[in-house]
Amino acid sequence: MERLKPIIGSCLAKPPLTKSHLQVTALNHSFGPTNILKDIDFCLEQGKVVAIVGPSGCGKTTLLHLCAKLLAVNDGIVDNTFNSFAIAFQEPRLLPWQTALDNIAFGLKAKGINKKQRYQQAVSISKVFGLTPHDLDKYPKDLSGGMRQRVAFARAMVTKPELLFLDEPFSALDIGLKQELQQILVQHVTKKNTTILFITHDLMEAVRLSDEILLLANSPGSIVHRLTLDTPIINRDDQFVYHETAKLLAQPKVIQTFELSMNLNTAVEHEIS
């Protein structure tokens, strides 16, 4: 019986050869004796965006690192046919002894691009990310948390990867910047056919930006709910986002996973009494 169970998250039975994909099949992961991820299946096709949401500590970052081959896959299959990928880590992981400019250009340097060209590219992307030339000369210690996050984000974007892994890329940004960068991301997906796997705590953000949302539950982390959004990302207005988010929030699985409303109400009552 177990074997006959269809794999829900698989790509088309045979993915067309022209499209790259990231296919995760029956993935499990443990740190020592603790089982962190269990039976993860999903597929990310070229030009698509998948969002991973879930409570803190449920294994989202671990899943992302497994997909990026930063952690060894011991149980299950991660099949990545993309030619290039880049990661924006949850903590920015900037080199403290290099200026923001050099940090942004890090990936380009690793690719062997010469100094002049990589600085040119880094400077031009830094404008998109709202960093001033003055900021670019600063060392990470003199940047704000949000600036550091943008530098790390820019460092990943500037290499123009086919696949982008983003671990809570907008978490330290104000609403305006957040919107702006989300817009840039949407453009990259629609115009340049970039593929994105991103983690967020913001359901609304997930609904706005992704083609599929995977809800990861706690201990051990497994996908308890999937939502596929068919409306093209570029066509989504606020109305759509509010509506879909509300629908998602009403799902029993979502309520259960985040221990929503029920607990919240009791907590509030507790507070009042």
């Binding site: 990026a68 930063l70 880049a86 990661i87 880590f89 903590e91 992981r93 080199l95 403290p96 002894w97 290099q98 890090f106 990936g107 340097k109 690793a110 690719k111 060392y139 990470p140 210690k141 290499t159």
Partner: protein
């Protein structure tokens, strides 16, 4: 190259910031003068006389030659301890076992008073260069060793992972990640070792050599030449201040400006 240029560019501003230090030095000289007036010149010669004596020593008494000998010994000791300390420290830091095993040894080296080393060195090598340089090495090498050890032990996996995610080649990882991190630990230990070498060399010379500033100091003691002794001490202090503030500090500022 740019770094070296920067050091020179920032030098005037750095000098300007030194007024406070100069004021405190003058205060010190004033107290010294007070001491002279209270106790007389056998105990504490006047600052002015001491300075004049120092100038005289430099111009007529051939102290340059002794100074040169001492500097040479200190530098030899420094270079040897930096070379051995850095390379052994790096190697030891690479493995958990070696770093654990080396810790008590370093504690012994650090805890042993230099004066004990001098006695041993005199027995082993007799009077002269070798004994002095040996003592300098033994005293400053553990400082460098610990710096290098900690530098390698604290290498961050996070940054390494980041570099690997961008497929950075090994040479780039070494240049942009490992080296700056380790250097930020080793460099301060080099400075500390240089200061240590300078102090130890004089002490070692005083006991185990017939030439050098230390030996000169021994001569002034035997002749009860307080003024001469003070002039020599003054010379040592001035040269130490010079090394510290005109050589090391500007370099340190440049290479560590990314630090908090």
């Amino acid at each position: 190259m740019a770094a070296i240029l920067n050091i020179f560019k920032n030098f005037p501003r750095y000098l300007w910031s030194g007024w406070g230090a100069i004021a405190s030095i003058f205060l010190f000289i004033a107290l010294w003068e007070l001491g002279y007036q209270a106790y007389g010149e056998l105990v504490l010669p006047a600052p002015k006389d001491t300075f004049l004596r120092l100038v005289n020593m430099l111009l007529h008494e051939g102290i340059w030659k002794e100074m040169q000998i001492t500097i040479q010994r200190a530098l030899w000791g420094f270079v040897i301890s930096v070379t051995i300390g850095s390379s052994l420290g790096l190697l030891a830091g690479l493995f958990v076992t070696t770093s654990m095993m080396s810790r008590p040894l370093v504690t012994i080296f650090m805890g042993m008073p230099p004066i004990a080393w001098i006695v041993l060195a005199m027995i082993w090598f007799g009077m002269g260069d070798t004994a002095v340089i040996f003592t300098v090495v033994v005293a400053s090498f553990p400082i460098v060793f610990i710096g290098a050890l900690q530098g390698t032990r604290t290498l961050e996996n996070n940054l390494k992972e980041m570099a690997e995610s961008f497929h950075a080649p090994l040479l780039m990882k070494i240049k942009d990640i490992y080296f700056p991190h380790i250097f930020s630990y080793i460099f301060p230990s080099w400075i500390a070792a240089l200061g240590m070498s300078w102090k130890i060399v004089v002490m070692a010379e005083l006991l185990s050599s017939y030439d050098g500033i230390g030996a000169e100091l021994a001569v002034t003691r035997s002749q009860l030449d307080t003024e001469g002794a003070l002039a020599l001490v003054l010379m040592l202090v001035i040269s130490l201040l010079f090394i510290e503030y005109f050589l090391m500090e500007p370099i340190k500022r440049e290479v560590e400006q990314w630090r908090d």
